[in-house]
């Protein structure tokens, strides 16, 4: 793969050029935290950031999104008939997405893009987007991407990978989409024959800074029902402190569940979808009042079983987690997916016990 050298000044100039061809999205600091936003003309992405508080999930999949519009005016010819609103599908580029968040799109795609059904909202956004990733040179103590199918330099789902390098970046062009973007931005200085080795070296340094890991090698072999029934060893102690706040699901780049609601305003209305959380009792309650997951223990079990067992068995592509560590950092009661994963991986149904790691 080709590697080019982009100086800071060239990056800025290139982004300015790209403005006319596509919408630029990048990390910006608002109040105390970073988040992904569409950059205004001349606004630069803040590439000094560690990671955003909420993931880049919303770039493709907004927290609230209108799916359909309709008229409730009985005189209207199209009364009560749903129609898809015009959506902005102009090309866009995300500048500075972290590899864990980009890899999370790949995980989510398995849900939104299936053989039988394609979710047009998610998929059209995905297809319109070029991902310019920013390698992590200084991972957090809560990061465990290297054992979760990603990594600080993972470019498996990137079009371009940027790596910090002196006064600028080394840019590995990963896909044709990335190549086109680099060409439109005027980034074309060959970084020389040592560049790939320099990237590898930075990667090794970054990976060595990641101190926590999840063990996943045994998850597939575990019996689904045994893990589900591991109440005393896993679900009761883990769920005990959970307040079902749903923070983990909102912060998570791979939590994809949504609710659908209609809203009306006078004689018009919309059908919209909103992120939903399996932590909430309403998520699974029937109209009769019966709730198949009527305890917080049942709900926390659902979240971890989905990520670490149901997904593993269904897709055979690893876990539904890329190790970004947001849920670990943000959980108000210190529930740690690394500990839960290691428990599930090491669970012994005969003794109803598992290894408890501090991570």
């Amino acid at each position: 793969m080709k590697v080019i050298q982009i100086k800071q000044s060239e990056l800025d100039a290139g982004l300015e050029k790209l403005e006319s061809a596509c919408r630029l999205i990048g990390p910006v600091k608002e109040k105390n935290y970073h988040l992904f936003k569409t950059l205004e003309s001349g606004q630069k992405p803040d590439l000094e950031y560690i990671n955003t508080r909420l993931s880049a999930k919303s770039v493709l999949y907004p927290q609230s999104e209108v799916m359909f519009e309709f008229s409730l005016d009985k005189n209207d010819e199209q009364y009560a008939v749903l129609r898809e609103p015009e959506k902005d599908r102009t090309p866009r580029a995300v500048i500075g997405i972290r590899p864990c968040d980009a890899d999370a799109y790949k995980v989510c795609r398995r849900n939104f893009d299936t053989e039988e059904y394609q979710d047009p909202y998610w998929l059209k956004n995905y297809e319109a987007t070029t991902l310019v990733g920013l390698a992590c040179s200084n991972p957090c103590p809560t990061c465990f991407c290297t054992s979760a199918g990603s990594g600080p330099f993972s470019d498996k789902n990137l079009d371009i990978l940027l790596v910090d390098n002196n006064d600028g970046y080394l840019a590995r062009i990963v896909t044709d989409k990335g190549e086109k973007l680099a060409a439109s931005a005027g980034w074309n200085t060959d970084a020389g024959s040592d560049a790939e080795a320099a990237i590898e070296k930075s990667r090794d340094q970054a990976e060595s800074k990641i101190r926590s890991a999840v063990a996943t090698d045994n998850l597939e072999k575990q019996s689904l029902i045994d893990l589900y029934e591991a109440e005393s060893a896993i679900w009761e102690p883990e769920g005990f402190a959970c307040i079902n706040c749903g923070t983990c699901t909102y912060a998570c780049p791979t939590c994809w569940c949504f609710d659908v609601q209609d809203e009306t305003y006078g004689k018009s209305g919309v059908r919209m979808r909103n992120w939903d959380s399996c932590m909430y009792p309403l998520f699974s309650v029937h109209a009769s009042g019966h709730n198949p997951r009527d305890t917080k223990i049942a709900r926390i079990r659902q979240r971890f079983m989905h990520k670490l067992k149901y997904y593993v068995d269904k897709y055979e592509k690893g876990i539904q987690c890329t190790g970004c560590g947001r849920c670990v950092r943000l959980c108000p009661v210190s529930i740690d997916i690394r500990r839960v994963c290691n428990k599930m991986n090491s669970y012994n149904p005969e003794t109803c016990s598992c290894e408890i790691t501090s991570g």
Partner: protein, 281 residues
């Protein structure tokens, strides 16, 4: 790219009150756009999302049979926001139907077999679809004996009563209609709970006999030991589940039981399959 969330617009063609307490009504829909009926090609046991603009969608089993053309029918119990509004809607009103969804009863497997249908209360809708489908002259010869054990609290709570009575007169289907109780001296069918009638009337289980069981949890709970006693294997007991759903196409994540999604991998499962999944339904 087709938008799988977009309902087909339909007009309510007819509304029938099914039960004496008026809690169940059957809605007959016709498609507004030519060609949509063909796209909505379904098998007995599938369901659809009924959509009312401004209120939302509800997943409901299809009560009409694929052999009935020109319309689709759904029998709806009045229970929540959308169903309450639907019960107030009239012939001529416009709404939406999205589907068909789910896997249906395993018709390929059931061909050449004895089929025993065991239903209770208002969970009889897709069973009606199945019976009409099997009784269709060109289909009837594909199946061996058909037994139907169907019960409700009282005669007035039985769905599709006219059809039930008509089927009871036929010799190509064994109807065992029952009610929990009645003070009607003219009542000529069974009295008693569905599991008890199943024990009396259902044929013994063998390799050629499959049971389809749909009903309230209490009926299912007490029917299972009866079927066990009669010798039905768990792979010969077929059930249809319900769970809270939103998208109906396996994307929104609401209706899972373990790794299976009730909307897409189900709603029809064998008891053998359900034995391997968490009981989150």
């Amino acid at each position: 790219m087709q938008n799988p969330y977009l309902p087909y617009p339909v007009r309510i063609d007819d509304v029938t009150v099914e039960t004496e307490d008026k809690s169940l009504k059957t809605f007959k829909f016709v498609f507004l756009n030519p060609g949509d009926e063909e796209k909505f090609s379904y098998r007995a046991g599938q369901f659809a999302e009924l959509s009312i603009a401004g209120l939302g969608e509800i997943p409901i089993g299809i009560a009409s049979s694929p052999t009935e053309k020109g319309f689709v029918k759904f029998t709806v119990f009045k229970t929540g926001k959308v169903t309450s509004h639907l019960h107030a809607m009239k012939e001529g009103d416009i709404m939406g139907v999205r589907g068909p969804m789910g896997n249906s009863y395993p018709w390929d497997l059931l061909e050449g077999k004895n089929v025993v249908i065991i239903g209770g209360g208002f969970a009889f809708t897709t069973l009606r679809s199945s019976i009409v489908y099997m009784l269709q002259p060109e289909n009837r010869s594909k199946f061996k004996d058909i037994h139907v054990i169907y019960g409700a609290r009282s005669p007035g709570m039985l769905l599709y009563k006219d059809e039930l009575m008509a089927w009871a007169e036929r010799d190509d289907i064994n109807m065992h209609i029952t009610v929990d109780g009645t003070d009607d001296p003219e009542w000529k069918y069974h009295k008693g709970f569905v599991p008890a009638i199943a024990e009396q009337e259902a044929p013994p289980g063998d390799a050629d006999t499959y049971a389809i069981v749909c009903g309230p949890p209490i009926m299912i709970k007490f029917t299972q030991p009866v079927l066990d006693k009669l010798g039905y294997g768990h792979d010969q007991i077929i059930m249809s589940l319900e769970n809270r759903m939103k998208c109906g196409i396996g994307i929104c994540g609401h209706c899972n039981i373990g790794k299976e999604l009730v909307c897409k991998d189900g709603p029809v499962f064998t008891l053998e399959q359900l034995n391997m999944t968490p009981k989150e339904y």
